[in-house]
Amino acid sequence: MQKKVLTEQALYYGDVTMPKDWEIDRVYLSNKILYSDLKNEKFKTCKTWDKLNRYIQEHINLYYETALVNTDTWGNIYKPLENTDSLLNVDPVDLRNSPDFTLLYGVNVSDCSVKISYDDNRRKGRSWTIPLTNNKFVMFPSTNSYSIINNQKESLNFILTVTYEYI
């Protein structure tokens, strides 16, 4: 008897463990997100973003042999106790130009978690919730909808979203 896996819904998560003294400058990224939000401009990539992006691409390729190409990046700021609606980063009528993966990176967060929805064959509408902390990432298929739960009471939460295609 044999088994063939036709597809998988893989989630990747962990800390961005950069070399000592070369850590991601999360304060700088927070400022970039705030700036793009205030100016209502697209998030502009920078050297700090490049460090994060390369870390993800190179380590996913090293450990999972999946080559990722960045397609888009934006930042979000969440108020205390703000919960998002269900979010989806693919366009159902334009899947060709939709990303394969969505990555969420905790730039400056507290009491935050990500709820990822998935179907397990006929068991529809299941979900998996993972805390999102500072310098942690979670990456999942863009075809999975998700929501962000912010339970912090005083500060703002800054989250960077990066989307990828795999080749």
């Binding site: 070399p19 070369w22 190179e58 380590h59 390729n61």
Partner: protein
């Protein structure tokens, strides 16, 4: 051109970059790895000591020119290779759990040595395309098993 392997703190090779010769030479015009490392540190947002020079022409401690005295650091690094600073060797992934390192040829070997040579008859059958003899390592039995993949 000079090649540098980017490694993480677990000594795993993440990628290999090319640096122009002029960016890997000191003021006297002599190749100097530390100059290349400084160049890469400045331009790649990754610390210089985690960029290790590697030789495109070296494999299993042999140099493509035939002059093995030019062999450098065992093997040309690839993604997933492991940097061994003590022996100054880039090791490919371990093929089987029981295999052991041999620093003399910068390669992994089975605990009972390499596969036996094919007989003259087997070799001629391969040449004729009637058989496809090959020894495959059997990790469970710790033996080299002769397999025939049939006509070409």
């Amino acid at each position: 051109m000079a090649h540098f392997a980017k490694i993480n703190e677990e000594n795993k090779v993440l990628t290999v970059n090319v640096v122009a010769n002029k960016d890997n030479m000191n003021a006297e015009g002599v190749e100097d790895e530390s100059v290349g490392q400084a160049f890469l540190e400045k331009n790649s947002s990754w610390p210089g000591h985690l960029w290790i020079q590697t030789s495109y022409n070296t494999m299993f401690n042999k140099h493509a020119s035939g002059d093995d005295s030019k062999a450098f650091r065992g093997n040309y690094a690839g993604v997933g290779f492991e940097w061994d600073s003590e022996n100054q060797i880039f090791w490919p992934a371990k093929p089987y759990p029981s295999w052991v390192k041999d620093t003399s040829d910068a390669n992994w070997h089975s605990p009972i040595g390499d596969a036996p040579a094919l007989t003259a008859e087997q070799s001629s059958q391969i040449s004729a395309g009637t058989n496809g003899w090959i020894y495959i390592w059997n990790e469970e039995n710790q033996t080299w098993d002769l397999n025939d993949y049939g006509p070409a």
